[in-house]
């Protein structure tokens, strides 16, 4: 009796977490997947017509707004990679010149404490043609300058990318910085003694040693991009037209504006699929790596 209590008490304590995982995560995912095969509109309709199980998906793939959203996802993803490059560069520079590291890090990181809504609003304000930066450049004498990216469908996404990069660079810089610091300090000394040029040192030695950090950043960035919603609402609310729609925006729109549960569920399932495609390779990679390390040990 007594021994069993030490076995049961932790399991008892874990029941809330188990319940949350089972209901809010596993159960919900299952429910949504089920819904994506139904004809539910405002209210859930659990009947699945086997002849037309894929109808929501058909609608989805034929919806030009969805294709646009996916395309935007890709653009946003690639553009946001700038944040990683920029972050790495900043990390390298801050790491080299030891003085002022704390100050710079504080300045580069504070955007993370700011809501994406506020970020989006401020950049939207700064991209205002008559009152923002464009006007500022005009007043400096540069009459042809154009910084009105948000008003044209072709350039609106770039505005969002800029705001996104502004917000997240500090984060990747912090990750890169800790990655750099974990590199054995003797490597730097050896390079100095060998007279290796800094560029070669970074390209051939440091960056390969930080593979895992880069990978982590890439994964986190991709996952963050998939979730991009707040910033779109704040900067353009999807416009002009539908040119800045993202899959997350599409899904929310399908639910709250089009009031179509089945359709929104299908979009959400595709979002999950995209997430898995990004996520599973790292799981495989880390599992493979830990097995390799265990074999070597």
């Amino acid at each position: 009796m007594a021994l069993r209590w030490s076995r049961w008490s932790p399991q008892l304590a874990l029941t809330p977490a188990l319940a949350v995982t089972a209901i809010a995560f596993a159960g919900s995912i299952g429910w949504t997947i089920w819904m994506s095969f139904t004809r539910s509109r405002r209210l859930p309709d659990y009947a699945i017509d086997p002849a037309e199980w894929g109808r929501q998906y058909n609608r989805l793939f034929n919806d030009p707004a969805w294709a646009l959203s996916l395309g935007n996802l890709l653009i946003l993803g690639i553009g946001s990679m700038l944040a990683i490059v920029f972050g790495f560069l900043l990390a390298v520079l801050v790491n080299r010149e030891k003085a002022g590291e704390g100050v710079f890090r504080t300045i580069f990181l504070y955007p993370l404490a700011v809501s994406l809504v506020v970020t989006g609003l401020v950049w939207r304000w700064m991209m205002n043609p008559s009152l923002g930066i464009e006007n500022f450049l005009h007043q400096l004498g540069w009459k042809d300058a154009s910084f009105n990216w948000l008003s044209a469908p072709e350039t609106a996404m770039y505005g969002i990318i800029l705001a996104q990069v502004w917000q997240s660079t500090g984060f990747y810089m912090a990750l890169m910085l800790s990655g750099l610091k974990s590199i054995n300090s003797e490597i730097w000394s050896a390079a100095r003694l060998d007279g290796v040029s800094p560029l070669r040192l970074y390209v051939e030695i440091i960056i390969p040693m930080m593979k895992f950090t880069f990978l982590t950043c890439a994964i986190l960035l991709s996952l963050g991009v998939v979730k991009a919603y707040d910033i779109v609402v704040a900067m353009t609310n999807g416009g002009p037209g539908q040119s800045t729609w993202t899959p997350a925006y599409f899904t929310i729109n399908a639910y709250s504006i089009r009031s179509n549960i089945g359709f929104a569920s299908a979009a959400a399932v595709v979002m999950l699929a995209i997430t898995l495609v990004i996520f599973l390779p790292i799981v495989g990679l880390t599992a493979w790596q830990t097995r390799r390390r265990a074999d070597r040990a």
């Binding site: 209590w5 030490s6 008490s9 932790p10 399991q11 304590a13 874990l14 809330p16 977490a17 188990l18 995982t21 809010a24 995560f25 159960g27 995912i29 429910w31 949504t32 819904m35 859930p44 080299r96 010149e97 890090r105 300045i107 580069f108 990181l109 504070y110 993370l112 404490a113 700011v114 809501s115 809504v117 506020v118 609003l121 950049w123 304000w125 700064m126 008559s130 009152l131 923002g132 930066i133 500022f136 502004w166 500090g170 990750l175 998939v226 919603y229 707040d230 609402v233 704040a234 609310n237 929310i252 549960i261 569920s265 959400a268 399932v269 979002m271 999950l272 997430t275 996520f279 880390t286």
Partner: protein
């Protein structure tokens, strides 16, 4: 032989640290980047203190000619969101009423779960941890609709608690992993001693483990504060009409404004929304950095 030791000391001038060109360039670049990051904050602050007349002249970077606090009062009290003009103050208090239960639920749930998984012998602990790891990456949209239905069926929908509970649910996988990894570092012998002395799950947690958790609690606290305060989507989905957080009211005010856009009031409202987490950031910055890297480097 003749004494070769110099008898008159030659005074060499103190070697000055040579300011290398690359150092100057580095700092110049870093300062420019710092400006890039600082400028938006500068713009918000400056715009919020300007009069509309000065704003309409369009010099976005110039300091206010006459500093006015009026936009701030207007933002707080009379900011218009759609049909209502009650200011952003209700949003502030709503956000606080969402934040506090969020913190309580998240800290308690995740710390105890992390503790159980890290320090007690549960056969399926590793499997569950893996599942949690996967849940941390799940996009909100795939669980959104069932959660809405759940919240309305249980009557919570549209209340502070609903938003708080959803936040706690979404954060649980990540925070549990953070706690678990922290508790894993506690030496096994300490737990063995506690098992011999008391063996009680809760007593050991409260009297021994919790006092040792100061650092990680701060990190988790900061993570929760920033993610809950700055959230928009969860608030949009679950807050109904009476529990709208500050970000939601801010967004509504700016997006649904008809007619003339009152920039200084909007910026003041944005700043009001941004200040609490910024205060936490600048006040506890050290733990903040730890918090982010802890959040990112999981498992």
């Amino acid at each position: 032989m003749t004494d070769t030791i110099a008898t008159s000391p030659v005074m060499y001038p103190r070697r000055k640290r040579k300011l290398r060109g690359s150092t100057i360039a580095t700092y110049a670049f870093l300062i420019m980047c710092a400006l890039f990051f600082a400028v938006p904050l500068y713009v918000i602050i400056v715009t919020s203190f300007k009069t509309m007349t000065q704003i309409s002249e369009g010099e976005i970077f110039s300091l206010p000619r006459e500093w006015t606090v009026e936009p701030w009062f207007k933002a707080w009290n009379t900011l218009c969101t759609g049909l209502e003009c009650n200011g952003i103050k209700s949003g502030f208090f709503n956000s606080i009423q969402i934040l506090i239960p969020s913190i309580a639920i998240s800290l308690i749930l995740s710390s105890i779960t992390g503790y159980a998984l890290a320090l007690w012998n549960v056969r399926w602990a590793n499997g569950f941890l893996f599942v949690l790891f996967m849940c941390a990456f799940v996009p909100f949209q795939i669980i959104m609709i069932p959660l809405i239905i759940l919240m309305s069926r249980t009557g919570f929908y549209g209340s502070y608690l609903a938003v708080a509970i959803v936040h706690a649910i979404l954060a649980m996988p990540l925070l549990t992993l953070i706690f678990r990894n922290f508790y894993k570092d506690i030496p096994q012998e300490l737990m063995s001693a506690a098992m011999m002395d008391s063996g009680s799950f809760l007593r050991v947690f409260v009297e021994i483990i919790l006092p040792m958790s100061g650092n990680i609690m701060v990190v988790v606290l900061i993570l929760v504060i920033t993610s809950v305060w700055n959230d928009y989507l969860v608030g949009l989905t679950f807050a109904g009409f009476s529990a709208q957080p500050m970000t939601l009211i801010l967004a509504n005010a700016v997006i649904t404004s008809r007619g003339e856009v009152i920039y200084n009031v909007d910026m003041a409202a944005a700043l009001l929304t941004a200040i609490p987490p910024l205060v936490v950031y600048f006040g506890l910055g050290r733990f903040f950095v730890q918090g982010i890297t802890a959040g990112a480097i999981k498992g």
